[in-house]
């Protein structure tokens, strides 16, 4: 019988999700036996026109990583949606907008000007920007449009499943692929990872007291910390309670607190708001000044609480200036 057909594509991404597929190691070879990979720019020489040849629904499943930032990425995502029976958002950027989504704190213009006009290393007296009309080959050399807002994949196409993480663990990718190959996929729209938040799986869980009382939040550079005790109990911000489990506690094992790359658990719309909520309840104080001081001891709260989830959060980013 015919092998399932798989495609991998990246939008605005770093390539880490690709690497985590390679990290399937020997499983990669076995998987390669049981599927046909139709499209995978990082690894094989199939081009866009090869993709257009594929009949609609001709791909069993396409894993798309990266956030949607350029219009050509949106188009490609739509094409692949047509060609694929399943679309799987692969990694934090496709799932939540990821780190790239932090760009939604700024306007398109400011971002372009920054890197192509204002930087001291740049010599650009005419103020040329990529995408400006070229003297020769005007049309042919055009660049795709750079959107004002970074979007998660499901904001431009329907997504069937999500593999979370920056990067996803090879285990989860394997789990997803096997489910695709041999059935046993969960409910449509599921995030393929744990249901419970990281706290539940954390090796330091037992050290977390019923009531944490801290006087302020500490910065990571300020002092060393107990490698076995709950980070929050030591005044270090950890997103563990507001972040979906399944990451194999990679950061915790390295003695570093969680930064939330797996996104919020089911039914939480806004990881940042929930983080704020649970942090607020850590404090006994009821004095407004004191509470302000406490909160202000968090450097860059929005950047921290929304490190990976800004683009898919309730506000999606900074309000647009009129």
């Amino acid at each position: 019988m015919e092998k399932p057909k798989i495609a991998l594509y990246w939008c605005s991404s770093c390539g880490g999700c690709e690497e985590s597929v390679l990290d399937l190691a020997e499983d990669l070879l076995d998987l390669a036996e049981s599927v046909d990979v139709l499209f995978w720019p990082v690894a094989i020489d199939m081009k866009y026109h090869d993709v257009e040849m594929i009949p609609d629904g001709g791909i069993t499943a396409t894993l798309i990583n990266g956030a949607v930032r350029m219009d050509n990425q949106e188009q490609m995502a739509k094409i692949l949606r047509k060609k694929s029976r399943l679309i799987i958002a692969h990694g934090s950027c496709a799932h939540l907008g990821g780190v790239v989504g932090l760009a939604n704190f700024f306007e398109r213009r400011a971002i372009l000007n920054r890197s192509f006009k204002e930087v001291p290393t740049v010599k650009n007296s005419q103020g040329v920007l990529p995408g400006d009309e070229t003297k020769e080959y005007r049309k042919e050399l055009g660049l795709p449009h750079f959107h004002n807002t970074v979007k998660a994949l499901d904001q431009v196409v329907e997504v069937d499943y999500y593999i979370p993480g920056c990067p996803p663990t090879p285990q989860l990718i394997k789990k997803a692929l096997l489910a695709i190959l041999h059935g046993g996929l969960p409910l449509k729209g599921s995030v393929i990872a744990e249901k419970k938040a990281l706290c539940y799986f954390c090796s330091r869980k037992e050290s977390k007291p019923d009531m944490i009382e801290i006087k302020r939040f500490k910065r990571l550079y300020e002092e060393e910390w107990d490698p076995a005790r709950c980070f929050l109990d030591q005044g270090l911000i950890c997103l563990g309670p507001a972040t979906r489990g399944g990451c194999e506690e990679r950061c915790i094992k390295a003695n570093m607190p969680c930064r939330g790359c797996f996104g919020p658990p089911d039914n939480v719309a806004d990881q940042g708001a929930k983080t704020l909520s649970f942090l607020a309840s850590l404090f006994e104080s009821t004095d407004e000044k004191e509470l302000k001081r406490l909160f202000n001891s968090i450097p860059d709260p929005a950047g921290l609480f929304y490190r990976y989830g800004l683009a898919s959060s309730i506000l999606k980013g900074k309000m647009i200036r009129q």
């Binding site: 249901k195 539940y200 489990g245 089911d266 909520s277």
Partner: protein, 650 residues
């Protein structure tokens, strides 16, 4: 889903301010809405029948009622839904009267807002879930802790209606402090005439099991089903055969201060607190009895004509199952040593009010005679009010009873020593209620009773002058004055019992900053606590006179009667929190937030669970939960978000 919308015109109230037809047509156009009707007065009998009829006729699955505030008729309409065979919680009431008709004069704007509110209600109700009013079986028996006047009233009231009551008392005898008074105001009745019948009834009531000389060790479970561990301390005397003849204390070689007479005289190591103490049974106090210090002594055993002495007796732990608890653990008095200017404990013949009560008492150390240490009756007596009360230094509150009992003292002194002269030093008089002022007026007339107002009590100082006591004070004009007395009574403040903190921890209830147990709500729930099924009465809750202590005892009993009915189940508030075990990560964020201790961390499952009996559905934990693992029934996240969207986007 088939939603029906009923619009109430509320007579002219809504009709005149809002375009009823306009919103009806608008509502009819909304998704899920299959039926709309408006009526003059939906809360009327007729209106309710109309709703019931239409629900059935159009077999509606959800109902929106646009009318007055839900706080007025939500329950009325819920009942209507039940009658019509719908779950009562598939209802949303839209408050278009208080929030549109009555506060927006512009008919167009009012109608506009009403539309948005109805749209919001439709979005919201679409997400409503049927809720079941859960019931749990419960014990109707009660535990009363403290056999003082408040505890006894609670116990009796409950027992009279055949409730089994366990009455636990720390001391070997019941009656509390009141039982040691000679007379009580306002009618100067003899205390024992008032209390003895009460104590007798308590003592012999078939539904009351008295456990004296006992202490609470542990409280488990919750409203309706408490499990209590009580330690019955060994008394070493067989309560059945002992008649309290006293043969044993005559022979006992050990003498110790008698705390029941405020240490004014001595008792033996085997003793009965005071003549007439009930139950009238001797007890050996292990601390002082030389036999228990290892010495050879059988004096009491040999002397006992009934062979009631049981040296081998040991402490017993008893487990009780009760549905509710009344804490009536009383008070302690302010220790004047804490206010050195009164020289208490150094200067002879200076007494606290409680000591003086014993001096006056016919079963007290002097058999009721007011005598100085030298055996002479006093001629000049001073009563000082507000000792330890109404001062930031000690207790900011007014104990509320000192004025009255000081006046009582004057009456009783005059009765016994007509020629004596009395001065009451006070700053203000606190004489509330029907009887107090008269009580004062009668006394004020009496010869040899004077009242001296001082600027503040802290300005009063006592010093020993030979056998006499010199009182110096500042009068209202700030002038220093001196007077000489031979006996002084300090009207000390009533304070939270010394062991209040320990009890609060055992029962999991809160204390005020003054140490007294904290009520659930000062005005509308004065005898209940933040923990369901635990009630407070008497001075454990704050300084009180006998009358109020009795009232609270009976009130607490009333609360129990109204909620715990034998054979009937306890109905639980359906709008509570619910933990989704699959999503809870056991991060414990919620645990410390719950004021009712309804959330507990299960260290085996490593997650949190809600005790629905204790939960009141405030939703604080829901907002805090970073995993959205807690659901607030009928106020779920998506219901509220849907409502927000409706209000903003129609």
């Amino acid at each position: 889903m088939k939603a029906g919308i009923f619009i109430c015109e509320c007579g002219p109230n809504i009709r005149d301010a809002i375009d009823i037809n306009d919103i009806a047509t608008f509502a009819r156009g909304l998704e899920h809405v299959v039926f709309t009707a408006s009526f003059n007065l939906l809360c009327s009998e007729e209106g309710q029948n109309l709703i019931e009829r239409d629900i059935k006729k159009h077999n509606l699955s959800h109902v929106i009622i646009a009318a007055c505030t839900p706080k007025e008729h939500e329950n009325t309409f819920r009942k209507v839904l039940s009658k019509a065979g719908l779950n009562p919680f598939l209802l949303q009431v839209v408050n278009i009267r208080e929030q549109c008709a009555w506060i927006i004069k512009d008919r167009v704007l009012a109608t506009q807002k009403a539309k948005a509110m109805i749209a919001a209600a439709v979005r919201r109700v679409a997400l409503h879930e049927p809720l079941e009013v859960k019931e749990i079986q419960c014990e109707s028996d009660a535990l009363v802790v403290g056999a003082g006047i408040a505890g006894m009233s609670a116990a009796l009231t409950l027992a009279q209606k055949n409730r089994k009551v366990y009455l636990v008392e720390r001391l070997p005898c019941i009656g509390g402090k009141a039982a040691r008074f000679e007379k009580v105001y306002p009618h100067l009745e003899c205390a024992s005439c008032v209390l003895d019948p009460l104590m007798d009834e308590v003592l012999h009531h078939k539904h009351i099991e008295i456990m004296t000389y006992s202490e609470i060790q542990e409280v488990l479970g919750s409203y309706g089903n408490f499990i209590i561990k009580v330690k019955k301390k060994a008394q070493f005397v067989d309560s059945k055969s002992c008649i309290g003849c006293g043969a044993c204390f005559a022979v006992c070689p050990v003498k110790v201060k008698n705390e029941y007479n405020e240490g004014l005289d001595k008792r033996k190591a085997i003793y009965i607190p005071y003549p007439g103490a009930l139950p009238h049974i001797a007890a050996i106090d292990k601390e002082h009895c030389i036999r228990f210090q290892g010495k050879e002594c059988n004096a009491c055993q040999d002397a006992c004509p009934f062979g009631s002495i049981r040296y081998e007796e040991t402490d017993q732990i008893k487990e009780l199952k009760v549905g509710a608890i009344v804490l009536a653990t009383g008070f302690d008095v302010f220790d004047p040593k804490r206010a050195s200017q009164f020289g208490y404990g150094k200067i002879r013949n200076v007494y606290t009010s409680l000591e003086f009560e014993r001096l006056l008492s016919s079963n007290g150390p002097t058999g009721g005679k007011i005598l100085l240490k030298n055996g002479e009756p006093p001629k000049r007596i001073a009563l000082i009010h507000c000792v330890g009360s109404r001062t930031k230094k000690h207790n900011e509150y007014c104990s509320g009873v000192c004025c009255m009992y000081s006046l009582k003292f004057s009456y009783l002194i005059k009765e016994q020593l007509p020629d004596s002269s009395i001065i009451e030093f006070y700053t203000d008089f606190c004489l509330p209620g029907r009887e107090s002022q008269g009580f004062f007026n009668n006394l004020a007339g009496k010869e040899g009773v004077d009242f001296v107002q001082v600027k503040n009590i802290d300005s009063v100082g006592l010093t020993q002058r030979q056998d006499n006591i010199l009182i110096t004070y500042k009068d209202m004009h700030g002038k220093r004055k001196k007077l000489l007395f031979n006996l002084v009574v300090l009207s000390v403040a009533l304070e939270a019992a010394r062991d209040a903190g320990k009890l609060a921890r055992i029962f999991g209830i809160s204390q005020g900053k003054d140490g007294f147990f904290l009520e659930e709500h000062a005005n509308i729930a004065p005898v209940s606590t933040s923990i369901g099924g635990i009630f407070i009465a008497g001075c454990a809750h704050g300084p009180k006179d006998i009358q109020s202590a009795v009232t609270e005892g009976q009130a607490a009993a009333g609360r129990i009667f109204s909620q715990l009915i034998p054979g009937e189940n306890l109905f639980l508030e359906p709008i509570t929190a619910e933990v989704n075990e699959d999503s809870c990560s056991g991060c414990k964020t919620c645990v410390s937030l719950c004021p009712y201790k309804a959330l507990t961390y299960d260290s085996v499952k490593k997650i949190v669970s809600v005790n629905e009996v204790l939960c009141r559905g405030c939703g604080v934990c829901v907002a805090a939960c970073p995993s959205a693992a807690i659901k607030a029934r009928n106020f779920t996240d998506n219901q509220i978000v849907a409502e927000i969207q409706g209000l903003l986007q129609g």
